[in-house]
């Protein structure tokens, strides 16, 4: 039976999504640069499910500075900014448990579908939410 499966596999689409390109580019960064210039096309990532737990989105206006999210966060992602009574999140540490979202009394935090977060600088703008 396994032979039949294997044989039919030859003619079906591979199970793996070929992200970011059909064939591995020599340099991924170079390839992404080309995508930006419009010289290459990106094979899109597999879409995320509706209730995906990605990078946490923060609504600064809503936040009342109660620090509940800081109390429950297991990974010490969240820093309190006492002067403004707001928070800053260091996403590089985040475990995407969304416990802070559950804890926030005013719904200032939410799960977003963003997950392409790799970076060489852990304090880059993309990895800092405030």
């Amino acid at each position: 039976m396994i032979l039949k499966t294997l044989f039919s596999q030859l003619f079906t689409k591979p199970a793996t999504n070929r992200f970011p390109a059909k064939y591995m580019p020599k340099s991924v960064l170079g390839f992404l640069g080309k995508v930006k210039e419009g010289k290459a096309t990106l094979v899109p990532p597999v879409p995320v499910p509706p209730r995906f737990r990605g990078k946490i989105a923060y609504d600064r206006e809503k936040c009342i500075g109660c620090q509940l999210c800081i109390r429950v966060c297991p990974a010490k992602v969240i820093e309190f900014l006492p002067e403004v009574k707001k928070i800053r999140m260091h996403v590089a540490r985040c475990t995407f448990c969304a416990q802070c979202v559950d804890a926030c009394p005013v719904d200032a935090l939410a799960e977003s579908p963003d997950f392409l977060l790799s970076d060489t600088d852990r304090s880059s703008a993309a990895l800092t939410v405030e």
Binding site: M1, I2, T5, L6, A15, V48, P49, R51, F52, R53, L68, R71, V72, C73, P74, A75, T95, F96, C97, A98, Q99, D102, A103, P105, E111
Partner: protein
């Protein structure tokens, strides 16, 4: 058996980059035969229990999830059961059903992961890729339900954090149908394949008596024919009502021998059992609350006042896991937290399993208890007093060569397994 001077020692480990937890084996070998093994664990002590004493219980919950990446539902479920007993928290019925669904999904993905690893250790990479390809289906469903592909962050003290939404039910049903349809192919590929049988039948035997006296747990014990399953012996959540029965090779019409083959039988049949459990839960699950503490501040305040001790137990994919917790009023952190994971109980079963086996069988026997460490990275061999290093690739090559060897002698002769 009297050991002659032809017995050499092969130490394996403790540091293997591929291992989740380093461990050290010292094999005594005579030619190709293993005469004995000494196991030393404890290289990966992370002080997790101590770390918890500096964190409140909610943070500890996510710490428990990180004891093991595969058992990332089993550990949180067990610690919540322990804390709920200590603090006297009721769990709504719907949440109990949901916890069962989530833990059975975890069992499916863990057993399929094991099956793939086992195939790889035997040199059947085709089967590895096939198994791991079909495993994606359950991971996708877990991602759909929890929002995370791994480390699901689902249980919380007093319930669960996410419900199965009505529009998700067809997806769960589709997953159950998918694996039911596939099961026969999987059984065929693993259990009716003559070369898999030749490499696993009568290899790494653990007799029922040994399994019993060494306190083996989970599929390792059940493959030896012990009817031992926490879900059946000390029911918790709604497992009592679901009437779970421990699966042994007898359910497949085989007299248990306790070898690697039997361990595959048990795990594959447990995938089918988990599918049944998920389906039953899905239909019998009552409506209602999914947690008794919808507000996190209320939960934090309640836990701070709680005082007492509690024990939680759960049948993780690898066997029984136990958490003990002690809480003190006015203190947010646990005073004591003790975790016993299944591999700890199964470690000693390796000793009789390795006895008189071949060196080429080391990978598959080590993997057969589904430890949290299953890849050999490198072996240090001291031969005639001069040290040399055998890489993981070499061990894998040995294992593959053996598969080739046994398959070549296979075809025309009717065989009953084990004749190496």
């Amino acid at each position: 058996m009297a050991e002659t001077q032809n017995v050499y020692e092969i130490p394996i480990g403790p540091i293997h980059p591929a291992l989740k937890e380093p461990i050290r084996f010292t094999f005594r070998v005579e030619g190709e035969r293993i005469r004995g093994v000494d196991i030393r664990a404890g290289f990966a002590h992370r002080g997790i229990e101590f770390m918890a004493m500096k964190r409140n219980l909610i943070q500890t919950l996510y710490l428990s999830e990180r004891i093991c990446g595969i058992c990332s539902i089993s550990h949180p479920i067990t610690i919540t059961l322990a804390v709920e007993r200590a603090a006297g928290i009721e769990v709504p019925p719907r949440a109990q059903y949901l916890r069962v669904i989530y833990s059975e999904l975890e069992r499916i993905h863990s057993h399929l992961l094991w099956a793939g690893v086992a195939a790889h250790e035997l040199g059947f990479d085709t089967l590895l890729h096939l198994t791991w390809k079909v495993r994606e289906q359950v991971l996708d469903l877990l991602e759909e339900l929890s929002g995370n592909r791994i480390d699901y962050a689902l249980p919380i003290y007093g319930g669960v954090r996410r419900d199965v939404a009505p529009e998700q039910i067809p997806k769960v049903e589709a997953m159950v149908r998918y694996y039911r349809g596939l099961l026969d192919e999987l059984l065929d590929a693993f259990l009716r394949d003559p070369s898999v049988e030749a490499r696993t039948r009568n290899v790494g035997i653990l007799t029922p008596k040994e399994a019993d006296s060494l306190c083996a747990v989970g599929p390792t014990a059940r493959a030896s024919g012990l009817s031992k399953d926490v879900r059946q012996d000390r029911p918790y959540l709604v497992y009592g009502e679901l009437g779970v029965k421990a699966i042994t090779p007898r359910d497949y019409g085989l007299e248990p021998r306790g070898d690697v083959y039997d361990k595959a039988v048990v795990r594959l049949l447990e995938v089918a059992q988990s599918l049944d459990l998920i389906e039953t839960c899905l239909y019998e699950m009552p409506e209602g609350e999914i947690t008794s503490f919808p507000k996190i501040p209320a939960l934090l305040a309640f836990l701070k006042k709680a005082e007492g001790e509690g024990l939680g137990w759960h049948e993780a994919p690898r066997g029984e896991v136990i958490h003990y917790i002690r809480l003190e009023a006015g203190v947010e952190e646990p005073i004591v937290w003790k975790v016993k994971a299944p591999t700890y109980s199964n470690l000693m079963s390796w000793v009789p399993m390795f006895r008189d086996q071949e060196v080429a069988d080391i990978p598959i026997i080590a993997a057969s208890i589904d430890p949290c460490m299953c890849c050999m990275d490198r072996v240090h061999v001291v031969r005639d007093g001069s040290p040399g290093t055998v890489l993981k690739e070499e061990l894998l090559r040995l294992s593959r060569a053996k598969t080739d060897r046994v398959t070549r002698h296979l075809s025309p002769v009717p065989r009953h397994g084990g004749g190496l």
